[in-house]
């Protein structure tokens, strides 16, 4: 697809691994600028579209860390297909809050939640083959694949994501001025 003056559109894919979707919400916090962005960008796989697998893309945005075998698989699919891969937010960068489970024994956690808690009937840890294998620990994405850029924040603001993307699409080195560079 190309825009009205014949420039090829930039193809962008996004995914949420072990994140809370807040970074995707921040993406939508670009508000009206989203409609502007839609003129120069086309979306590939993303929770916002019905494309289920990532094809060749210019930019891949990753929210969330890696907590199960499926996350590893999806992350590698993105790395294979995206020229520029970006870790968006605390969870992708360092595991974030879900990594709080790293100091606990996974088996114990599952027992506590599915067996030992009050008010549970026919308890048992879910173990169907349809459920992806959980990893012992939640990992930052750079431990699994090479990452080109990191945007900090929990989540980074819509303004920060806008500045980053417009720089990258415009062929400039992305730079976030001090007020946009936040870690909360």
């Amino acid at each position: 697809m190309s825009d009205s003056i014949g420039m090829p559109r930039v193809r962008v894919a996004t995914t949420s691994l072990a994140g809370c979707f807040g970074c995707h919400m921040s993406f939508l916090d670009m508000d009206e600028r989203l409609l502007e962005l839609a003129k120069v960008v086309e979306f590939d796989r993303s929770p916002l579209t019905d494309i289920k697998h990532c094809g060749p893309c210019d930019i891949g945005l990753i929210e969330g860390g890696v907590c199960n075998a499926e996350n590893v698989h999806v992350l590698r699919e993105f790395r294979r297909n995206c020229k520029t891969l970006v870790a968006v937010g605390a969870c992708a960068i360092n595991g974030g809050l879900p990594a709080q489970r790293n100091h606990l024994d996974l088996g114990d956690c599952l027992q506590q939640v599915y067996v030992k808690r009050d008010g549970i009937e026919e308890g048992g840890v879910p173990d169907d083959p349809e459920l992806p294998l959980l990893l012992d620990r939640v990992h930052p994405i750079h431990e699994v694949v090479r990452v080109d850029y990191f945007i900090p924040g929990c989540p980074p603001s819509g303004d920060a994501i806008w500045k980053f993307l417009t720089d990258l699409i415009g062929g400039r080195t992305p730079r976030l001025a001090h007020p946009l560079l936040r870690f909360d």
């Binding site: 949420s16 691994l17 072990a18 994140g19 809370c20 979707f21 807040g22 970074c23 995707h24 919400m25 921040s26 939508l28 508000d31 009206e32 989203l34 409609l35 839609a38 979306f43 929770p47 916002l48 579209t49 019905d50 494309i51 289920k52 094809g55 969330g64 907590c67 199960n68 499926e70 974030g96 809050l97 879900p98 709080q100 489970r101 606990l104 996974l106 114990d108 956690c109 599952l110 506590q112 939640v113 599915y114 808690r117 009050d118 008010g119 549970i120 009937e121 308890g123 048992g124 879910p126 169907d128 083959p129 349809e130 459920l131 992806p132 959980l134 929990c154 989540p155 819509g158 909360d184």
Partner: protein
């Protein structure tokens, strides 16, 4: 109730088809279908495949961190978790929340209802409704809507933006703010913010009315689809105010049965455990709650807009109340339980949220007044709130050292687990059975799931997140047909 397609007897002989991930929903889920040689659907399941373990690692944290931590369960409805945890901690601290603090929290909450409902309808679901379930995959998203219906997309984007701005003004940040604290609030509404929001609120009320109209037009255009698709018989649950009014911030629990009769009423939030138990099934990380007195087979229920609009006796704002009456009349004496009616009910609530925000913005208590009071410290608390997707329950025990010793969360999407699975089975039976599966047919399944506005991240708070996938497997359990949308 109907669980006939939950587990096939001869699973090894069947073909497996998968939808993975379910898209245009929050979080990760997948759907698997097992089919026999004649393409009859024999089993259909919605799996929640992620686990994050919040309930476990919250234990051992100081109580004052909790309202800020738990909102990282969900970036779509962080305010719900922020406030449900705060309400539970109000109890632990024995603090009666001041007038100003409660109104500020209400403003934040209704801002969140507005933004979340707008997001769900316009950004996620409208492509199915405007273009058709089997329309072109590449167009079936918000960008496609913006190209074909620019004004609809623009109003959707701006409604969500307004709700996010209400949250920023009260919580300090659009996503994962810090405004509510155990026992009260830590800031007032600034006059500039109040004025900026007031300048726009009339538009928001008007656009919310237009959104209700849009859904009604869709219903009128194709009643056979809208009144039948995924219809099921279900009990419902929500909080209701003491006088029977819809109240999304606080109330007591009420259940109605599938015929609309009140089963249980006025149960205080602190006693939820006497009503609800949860079942675990090996194929999903999301539990299956049910009303204890009816048992797991009969006792499952729906929550969220469709339940709330019909569970309350009235909506306490005039425009939304008029719409509620029209909605009830549509059922001609029967409860409305068609899956797509969720969208209609959701837009009525969005209108109610806009009206409530307009009324609150005129209240001087938002700008001044005590934000915190003293209380007598206890050790346990339950906080329940009506989140955009339904009833959200937070339950904590806190030790003398201020550390959390027990955390139990039942999130909105979890209450709808059985209802979503039943809707998936209904749709599979009605639209897919015996047919060659295409991408468009499989999207029917997702349309049913989407109507519930599931929040799969929340639902997998246990330790992960939930991918939504639909798969078709063969006799040996190998995936033969995995209809992938490219």
């Amino acid at each position: 109730m109907d669980s006939s397609l939950e587990t096939a007897a001869d699973r090894e002989q069947l073909r497996r088809v998968v939808i993975d991930p379910v898209s245009r929903v929050e979080g990760h889920g997948k759907v698997t279908l097992l089919l026999d040689e004649d393409d009859h659907v024999r089993e259909a399941r919605l799996h929640i495949v992620e686990f994050r373990g919040f309930e476990v690692f919250i234990q051992g944290r100081p109580y004052w961190e909790v309202p800020v931590m738990v909102q990282r369960l969900c970036g779509i409805c962080p305010v719900s978790h922020h406030l449900a945890a705060s309400k539970a901690m109000d109890r632990v601290l024995g603090i009666p929340v001041t007038r100003s603090a409660e109104k500020l929290r209400r403003l934040m909450h209704y801002g969140q209802i507005l933004q979340s409902h707008a997001l769900h309808f316009f950004h996620l679901s409208s492509p199915d409704l405007l273009f058709g379930f089997e329309s072109e995959v590449g167009k079936r998203n918000i960008v496609g809507v913006a190209a074909a219906y620019p004004e609809v997309a623009r109003q959707g984007v701006l409604l969500r933006k307004f709700g996010q701005e209400v949250i920023r003004a009260t919580a300090g940040k659009r996503i994962h703010g810090t405004g509510s604290v155990p026992g009260g609030m830590n800031r007032h509404l600034a006059v500039e913010d109040r004025d900026a929001l007031r300048a726009e609120i009339d538009h928001m009320v008007e656009w919310s009315r237009a959104a209700v109209e849009l859904v009604k037009r869709l219903h009128r255009a194709d009643p056979a689809l809208y009144d039948e698709f995924g219809r099921l018989r279900a009990n419902v649950m929500s909080l209701v105010r003491a006088d029977g009014a819809m109240d999304l911030y606080h109330g007591a629990l009420r259940f109605r049965d599938a015929d609309g009769k009140i089963l249980i009423d006025k149960v205080p939030d602190q006693s939820y455990r006497s009503l609800i138990r949860e079942q675990v099934k090996p194929w999903s990380y999301m539990k299956f709650p049910y009303l204890q007195q009816l048992g797991p087979d009969e006792g499952w229920y729906q929550v969220g807009p469709l339940a709330r609009v019909q569970n309350c006796d009235f909506i306490p704002t005039p425009l939304a109340e008029a719409e509620r009456r029209e909605f009830i009349d549509h059922g001609r004496g029967e409860p409305v339980r068609a899956t797509l009616a969720y969208h209609w009910a959701r837009m009525i609530e969005m209108l109610h949220a806009a009206e409530t925000i307009r009324d609150l913005l005129g209240d001087g208590d938002l700008l001044e007044g005590a934000l915190l009071a003293d209380g007598e410290r206890g050790s346990e608390g339950v906080g329940i709130i009506e989140a955009p997707r339904g009833t959200l329950i937070h339950h904590y025990q806190v030790g003398g050292d201020d550390l959390v010793t027990m955390c139990n969360l039942i999130v909105s999407t979890t209450h709808n687990n059985q209802a979503m699975n039943t809707a998936v089975r209904e749709v599979a039976r009605r639209y897919l059975d015996g047919r060659k599966l295409t991408e468009g047919l499989l999207n029917h399944i997702e349309v049913a799931i989407r109507a519930y506005d599931p929040c799969l991240s929340c639902a997998t708070h246990a330790l992960g997140k939930m991918p939504l996938v639909l798969e078709l497997a063969d006799a040996g359990g190998e995936v033969v047909d995995r209809v992938v949308r490219e």
